[in-house]
């Protein structure tokens, strides 16, 4: 694949490369994360999980994927 077809994004503080026209849903699927157990922020805005297939990732996007862990 040509490098020009790739964009850099940041997921949970880590840099990643994905192809252009890659949707947020494709990212979640690629990372094998169960959608019903997480929340997603794209550039500090909370994303409605029902709409993630319609969101195309752009160069420099910052994505946070969170879930519940043990806490007091």
């Amino acid at each position: 694949m040509n490098i020009k077809n790739k964009i850099k994004i940041t997921v949970n503080g880590k840099q990643m490369q994905v192809i252009t026209n890659f949707s947020l849903k494709s990212l979640i699927v690629k990372l094998k994360i169960p959608i019903d157990k997480i929340a997603i922020e794209l550039n500090k805005k909370i994303i409605d999980k029902k709409k993630i297939s319609k969101i195309q990732l752009k160069k420099g996007d910052k994505i946070e994927i969170v879930h519940f862990i043990g806490g007091g």
Partner: protein, 257 residues
């Protein structure tokens, strides 16, 4: 005496003990301790998913949120903005509106930053959250939290994880007298008797994490806390005897030989 129901934001809960899910050796131990505690509310935290280790165990696989009430917290937040961001994310995971607000002001003693806590309580309440608030044991602040819409007042007994027990019983009693909201001791419990004392002061519940999770036998300590909360509550409802300076024999003098 039949006890009144333990209600928070119009929802009834069976147990007056709420337990945290942090600091356990693993999720299995955590789930077993929660079961032994009898709690039907557990506090949970919001953190990043580990995207490099996809096989890492998940809390939700061990504690089913359909069977037990998850109470998302704002652990590690030092401002209203951080707390609100965290709880909005928690709500997005699965619709949680009942939340535990905890805005800290000092990394060492983990005391709550009450100005930010008050501001966050007001903002979150306006957004439709039902906010249970970790706070200091100041009756005036407790009143202000109530005025801006808190659904439960949760004063500390002592610093989080300190295990020092209830340091200021008088303030807890004063807060009890002034509020009809659920009053829940949050933080500082060290042993079962501390939980009983909290209940004997008239609190509606107790929230415990470290005292169970870091006990040498967490499962047994969870059971001890369950019994201590029930015991303390019954003791409170039963109406204790007056304190007397002198003794009063339990056996009658009648028929003495």
């Amino acid at each position: 005496m039949i006890d009144k129901k333990f209600k928070i934001a119009n929802k009834t809960f069976k147990s007056r003990l709420i337990v945290g899910t942090g600091k356990y050796k693993n999720f299995n131990e955590c789930a077993n301790a929660v079961k032994a505690s009898g709690a039907d509310i557990v506090t949970v935290a919001v953190r990043r998913v580990n995207i490099t280790n996809k096989n890492k165990a998940r809390l939700m696989d061990y504690l089913d949120p359909k069977k037990i009430t998850y109470l998302p917290n704002t652990a590690g937040c030092f401002s209203a903005e951080e707390a609100i961001r965290t709880l909005r994310l928690a709500r997005e995971i699965g619709g949680w509106k009942l939340v535990k607000l905890e805005v800290l002001g000092d990394k060492r003693n983990l005391f709550p930053e009450m100005i930010e806590t008050l501001r966050s309580t007001e903002l979150l309440t306006k957004e439709g959250f039902k906010v249970m608030v970790y706070c200091n044991d100041d009756p005036l602040m407790a009143k202000r939290l109530e005025n801006v819409g808190a659904v439960a007042i949760m004063p500390l007994a002592a610093p989080i994880g300190s295990g020092l027990g209830i340091q200021n019983k008088i303030n807890i009693k004063i807060i009890r007298k002034q509020t009809k909201l659920p009053l829940i001791i949050d933080a500082g419990i060290g042993q079962a008797s501390d939980a009983s004392i909290a209940m004997e002061l008239g609190c509606d519940g107790v929230l415990i994490n470290t005292a169970i999770a870091k006990a040498q036998n967490p499962i047994q300590m969870a059971e001890a806390m369950r019994l201590a909360v029930i015991s303390g509550r019954k003791s409170f409802l039963s109406g204790r005897i007056d304190r007397n300076l002198f003794g009063s024999a339990s056996t009658t003098k009648e028929g003495i030989i």
